[in-house]
């Protein structure tokens, strides 16, 4: 067991981990931040996406030890300081960008990373960017739409109801 320390959602945290402890396991089991989900074991589904030092990574494909000293943001750290939904979270609710909610944390974290890099993405860019996030419920329609809306685009012309 070794000690790891990092900053998670703005708070300094540390804990004892094994060498093999994944970042996803550290977040879920040691910190009880269960919003980061594990949906596969081949690092493809993206339910576990978090931000490490400002970029999106799959927390199930990174060891906790590799995040030593890092700034980590999880879905629990995405709301506004007053607890209300952030622009992206609100857009997901407004446009029905989630159903069962299991892939949602990863989707939101990927969407946030995309908009950070590319504040005004096209539909095609959004769809390509989500290559590593699988959703089984929504058919992606409303996820893509929500991200476009979060970027400030007019989505009223996109088929809805």
């Amino acid at each position: 067991m070794t000690q790891v320390s990092m900053t998670v959602n703005g708070k300094a945290v540390s804990g004892e981990v094994e060498g093999r402890t994944l970042l996803s396991g550290f977040l879920r089991d040691s910190l009880n931040l269960t919003g980061t989900h594990v949906g596969c074991d081949t690092s493809q589904c993206g339910a576990c996406v978090v931000h490490v030092d400002g970029v999106a990574v799959k927390a199930c494909a990174m060891l906790a030890g590799e995040a030593e000293g890092a700034e980590v943001t999880t879905i629990e750290g995405m709301a506004k300081p007053d607890g209300s939904l952030s622009t992206i979270q609100q857009a997901f609710q407004d446009h029905h960008g989630l159903q069962c909610g299991f892939c949602t944390p990863g989707m939101v974290m990927s969407a946030a990373a995309l908009l950070q890099d590319n504040p005004n993405p096209s539909e095609t860019e959004i769809r390509e960017y989500l290559e590593g996030n699988i959703c089984r419920c929504t058919g992606y329609h409303n996820i893509v739409k929500a991200i476009m809306a979060a970027a400030g685009q007019d989505v009223s012309k996109i088929a809805a109801e």
Binding site: R20, R28, L33, T34, G35, T36, H37, V38, G39, C40, D41, T42, Q44, C45, A47, T74, I75, E76, M78, A79, L85, Q89, F92, Q93, D94, H96, L98, Q99, C100, G101, F102, C103, T104, P105, V108, E123, T124, I126, R127, E128, L130, E131, N133, I134, C135, R136, C137, T138, G139, Y140, H141, N142, I143, V144, K145, I158, A159, A160, E161
Partner: protein
């Protein structure tokens, strides 16, 4: 103007807030103090005799609490099957035992042999590797037709063969259908495969068993679509735990799509083992494990023949289907290729004579059961493919051939035992032409040509049957369960309402949509109404969520309970208002005396019910809480018309979906936003089946597509924005909401549209291609194009 509340409003989903902030509570988020972890040692071969299991080294490994084998389940019940099909000759299906842990033989890759309970999951895995298994491999039974040929190795030695049943429907029509086909002006024949799929909800299955030594009560937390069904099946048939000592909780569940209906061995194991080891036992499936332990879907091989007269009227239809059951009968497996498939073979058409033959077959593969649509996608696919093929053979427009044969008068009794109450198939086809811009296809075709791409248009219709019922009928058909739904409407003293429903939401948005109905009925704000579900301790006995039944059946139960509440509240109001009960009207949360300005608010009436000082105690009891069980008297019949435009890259065979439009008739709509979302998701699953997804086995029974590295899940860039419409509404005539169900339509209606479109594209390019089996991978399309 869109409504801002009640029935017909696109109310935003209240459950989203917790899911968007990481505060959902899924089963894997539940950890109980002092819990242990179980790892299942599963068979890595498809078929073998277990000659020996030596756990002596493993028992001594660090952290091991106890290792279980099949021997620990001697005398424990078999995982039960919930539907008994009767074959063509009046004999019951063959029904093998399904032990919790393998006994004597293993019958598919993934069949659990040992369960290692340890202090940590990794310790359990370490110990599992130290177990010495002596397995004597047997030939694997994989191909269905070979499985039922004489001399085949048997999956179950105690059965007479690998044939579960040979079902004929309607058996009395058999000769007439044969005769009609023999004398037809034209017969179109198609042989096809409905590919095996894995449901793949994004949340893998999880079970946590807990036992209270003080009370002898058990609790199972599980990823289920129907906790009461699990309690009944596991308690009564497997473990012998009476229901009052067994609580089953299905908290937030990350998608189901059918595969979380069934009672699984892992649930029974964790519940059983919790008492045996005296500590909670937790199992979390990995995705790789899910591929070999979640029940799969589809996997039919079909020959279909459509007979037409000289005027292109359909005169008869005959099908022969081999349906894979896998190695054991999963909970509802026998019903899928029969009552959920054969009864739908009329589709939207007035074909007078239909005969459906289904041979259900045991193989050394993972059990196959319901997956979104369950039987109805298989029916729709073969029917809409053969109609399309007939149109091409006859040189007539595929849409016109369909329209010519549409059922137009309702109610309509089909020759396959169901009666459609309502529908308007021309209306949805008209709507499809509009939203799919079918008249603009030629221009788009030209534009694709300029880019060197082959464009195709595929159109099809579908009909489905949802809200399977009534219970007494399905009982005659072999169901071993009732198919009602329940709800308790509990009005609290201050007027807020808790609705305990037997339906279960795992993405469908019940927590938002169900309150819209109650809000509409009473005229109070939706925020005053809460839906409670997923826990046998809080909800009345209910059958759960599957088969697009929640609103049609569960919602109806809720309406019935709410009506009882309102009737009682009116009695109280009439007392408070000193008026005749018959004169009391409820609107906008106010009880008024008709024709006067006398009124009393909802909250005052509810308070009176619980503080009955001024109250007719001699006539009615205090309190305001009612329960209803609703058992529908028919299925509901959603229908629609779908179209898909594809482009095929002639160099690589790659198919891209350029557009997809869906015009559905779901009857009345409670929340249009949620309905659209349900259709979107179904379409992606149907497109996935048509182009990407395939659970493939080799001849040794090894799964070739056992992870996301080889099982192609639809991604965001595989699908377009969809055009969906549900403005064509012929309300259901027999449930109080007039709703039909929308959960499965997208997955049922979309695969034939995609395949029809690809065939259209290739034929327009002069290729002699009449069919390609799903999934239409680039390699298969390229091979078909190049002879």
């Amino acid at each position: 103007m869109p409504k801002d509340g009640g029935i017909g409003a696109s109310s935003k989903r209240r459950e989203d807030v917790r899911f968007l902030t990481g505060r959902g509570r899924y089963t894997d988020d539940i950890n109980i103090n002092n819990q242990t972890y179980v790892h299942f040692l599963r068979s890595d071969v498809a078929h073998a005799t277990i000659k020996g299991i030596d756990t002596s080294s493993a028992d001594a490994m660090p952290g091991v609490v106890r290792i279980f084998t099949g021997a620990d389940f001697e005398g424990i019940g078999s995982i039960p099957c919930g539907w008994q099909v009767t074959d063509r000759h009046g004999e019951p299906m063959q029904e093998p035992a399904h032990p919790v842990l393998a006994q004597g033989k293993v019958r598919h890759v993934g069949d659990p042999i040992c369960a290692v309970v340890a202090e940590s999951l990794e310790q359990a895995r370490d110990a599992a590797e130290a177990i010495e298994l002596d397995l004597e491999e047997l030939p694997a039974v994989v191909d269905m037709k070979a499985a039922v040929a004489d001399g085949s190795t048997k999956v179950h030695d105690d059965l007479t063969s690998n044939l579960c049943y040979d079902w004929g429907f309607v058996e009395e029509n058999r000769e007439a259908v044969d005769e009609a086909i023999k004398s037809a002006a034209h017969v179109t024949t198609l042989e096809l495969v409905n590919n095996r799929l894995v449901a793949n909800p994004m949340e893998p299955r999880v079970a946590v068993g807990d036992w209270n030594a003080g009370t002898d009560d058990y609790t199972l937390y599980t990823t289920s679509q129907n906790p009461h069904v699990i309690r009944l099946l596991m308690g009564a048939f497997v473990l012998g735990i009476p229901e009052h000592k067994l609580r089953v909780v299905a908290p937030d569940v990350g998608g189901g799509f059918g595969t979380k209906i069934f009672h699984y061995a892992e649930e029974a194991f964790c519940t059983f083992a919790a008492k045996q080891v005296g500590r909670p036992v937790k199992w979390t499936s990995s995705r790789s494990e899910a591929f070999m332990s979640d029940a799969h879907g589809r996997d039919h091989v079909t020959k279909i023949e459509l007979a037409l007269d000289a005027d292109n009227n359909f005169t008869a239809l005959r099908t022969e289907t081999y349906a894979n059951m896998g190695a054991y009968l999963s909970t509802f497996a026998p019903s899928i290729p029969t009552w959920l498939h054969g009864t739908l073979m009329a589709g939207n058409y007035k074909t007078p004579l239909i005969y459906v033959n289904v041979k259900a077959v045991f193989t050394n593969t993972v059990p196959v059961d319901a997956y979104r649509g369950a039987g109805r996608p298989e029916a729709t696919f073969q029917l809409e493919r053969v109609v399309d093929k007939a149109a091409r053979e006859l040189g007539v427009d595929p849409i016109e051939l369909r329209r010519q044969n549409f059922i137009t008068e309702f109610p309509y009794a089909t020759p396959v035992a169901v009666e459609y109450d309502t529908g308007d198939y021309h209306a949805t086809m008209d709507k499809l032409a509009e939203i799919g811009d079918l008249s603009g296809f030629e221009a788009r075709l030209e534009e694709s040509k300029k880019r060197g791409k082959l464009r195709g248009l595929g159109v099809n219709c579908y009909i489905e049957a949802c809200g399977i019922a009534p219970s007494n009928l399905v009982g005659q058909l072999g169901a071993r369960a009732g198919l009602y739904e329940s709800a308790t409407v509990r009005v609290n003293a201050t007027g807020s309402i808790s609705v305990m429903t037997g339906s279960h939401s795992h993405g469908q948005g019940h927590e938002t949509a169900f309150p819209q109905v109650i809000a509409e009925m009473i005229g109070i704000d939706e925020s005053q109404i809460e839906i409670v579900h997923g826990d046998t301790a809080t909800s009345p006995m209910g059958m759960g969520t599957y088969g697009s039944r929640s609103l049609a059946v569960g919602g109806s139960a809720m309406v019935r309970a709410a009506e009882k509440v309102i009737n009682k509240a009116k009695k109280i109001a009439s007392h408070l208002l000193e008026a005749s009960e018959a004169d009391i009207e409820l609107k906008d949360g106010q009880f008024t005396v008709a024709g006067t300005d006398k009124s009393v608010a909802w909250g005052d009436v509810t308070l009176a019910a619980y503080v009955p000082h001024n109250y007719p105690l001699e006539e009615i009891e205090p309190g305001l809480e009612e329960t209803a069980f609703y058992d529908p008297n028919n299925f509901t019949y959603p229908s629609g018309a779908y179209c898909c435009e594809v482009e095929v890259d002639p160099d690589t065979g790659k198919v891209t979906i350029e557009s997809f439009a869906a015009a559905d008739d779901f009857g009345n709509i409670v929340n249009p936003m949620i309905v659209s979302g349900q259709v979107h998701g179904g379409l992606a699953q149907g497109i996935g089946q048509a182009l990407l997804e395939n659970c493939s086995y080799d001849e040794n029974g090894q799964i070739l597509s056992a992870s996301y590295m080889d099982y192609a899940m639809p991604r965001a860039d595989d699908v377009p924005f969809y055009e969906v419409d549900h403005s064509c509404q012929t309300p259901c005539t027999h449930n109080p909401l007039g709703v039909k169900g929308c959960g499965e339509a997208g997955a049922i209606g979309s695969p034939p549209a995609v395949v029809n479109a690809v065939v259209d594209a290739l034929q327009r390019a002069g290729k002699d291609v009449t069919h390609i089996d799903m999934p239409l991978t680039p390699g298969k399309v390229w091979a078909a194009m190049n002879g």
